[in-house]
């Protein structure tokens, strides 16, 4: 009969670097987390923009000046890429969850698809903004 033993449960260790060599699969995975969490910054600016729009033209001018300043543009266009990357990586996650595409060759192809696809979609969206 097994005894009840108290064990110190480890945190999930950070594997990349000391244990695993960086690979496309792990890098494209961690980038999903980074982009997803970083989107809070763009969301903050967006909510500020909506509140400013509701507040009236004078305040709106101040908010939009900041949000479309070069720092604001950097954050908003960065967020646009981040959202597309997270979008494609999320679709990849759904494919993986269905038990498909898990062999290394396909997984790496899907990783490149996320990277190139996110850049392509960002450029396409910016073109749509211009026209």
């Amino acid at each position: 009969m097994a005894e009840e033993t108290r064990i110190e449960r480890p945190l999930s260790p950070f594997m990349i670097g000391p244990y695993y060599r960086p690979q496309l699969t792990s890098m494209s995975s961690i980038l999903t987390r980074i982009t997803g969490n970083a989107l809070i910054v763009g969301t903050l600016l967006m909510v500020w923009w909506f509140l400013a729009l509701a507040a009236g033209p004078e305040y709106f001018e101040t908010a939009e000046w900041w949000i479309t300043s070069w720092v604001g543009n950097l954050i908003m266009f960065g967020s646009l890429w981040a959202i597309w990357y997270h979008y494609l990586a999320g679709l990849r996650h759904l494919i993986f969850d269905a038990g498909k595409g898990l062999d290394i060759k396909t997984a790496e192809k899907l990783g490149w698809a996320c990277i190139y696809g996110s850049v392509a979609l960002t450029v396409a969206t910016v073109i749509i903004y211009w026209i």
Partner: protein, 123 residues
């Protein structure tokens, strides 16, 4: 010594007790967002930087207003559950609890503020 099997001792003692529920919510919300986000990005991006009158004209219409509110709500729910997994991976104890509370509070505050703004514009 208690005559319990290892399995019985382990049942119900998973780390969060609701792992599958969390994962399923992420799948449901991600599919919902996959449908909403592209249209929202185009509507919002075109309104951003277009000036007060034009931005107001966009979000006065029902479809952009509803889509913006819905995307913000589902997006923030998806965000806090995702951010929570990150916090559970890298932090522990009281720090973890406080950070999870902070993220949950922040996302609800952003949702409420955003929906208030959108409603005021649209109504």
């Amino acid at each position: 010594m208690r005559y319990l099997t290892d399995r019985k001792r382990a049942v119900g003692k998973g780390s969060a007790h609701t792992g599958a529920e969390h994962h399923w919510y992420m799948m449901v919300s991600s599919v919902a967002l996959a449908f909403m986000v592209p249209t929202f990005l185009i509507i919002f991006g075109r309104a951003l930087g277009s000036g007060y009158e034009s931005a107001l004209a966009t979000f006065e219409r029902p479809f952009p207003a509803i889509l913006a509110g819905l995307t913000l709500f589902v997006g923030m729910q998806h965000f806090h559950k995702g951010a929570r997994v990150m916090l559970e991976d890298y932090t522990s104890g009281t720090t973890r609890k406080l950070l999870i509370m902070l993220v949950v509070g922040l996302t609800y505050a952003l949702t409420a503020a955003g929906i208030f703004g959108i409603a005021k514009i649209a109504l």
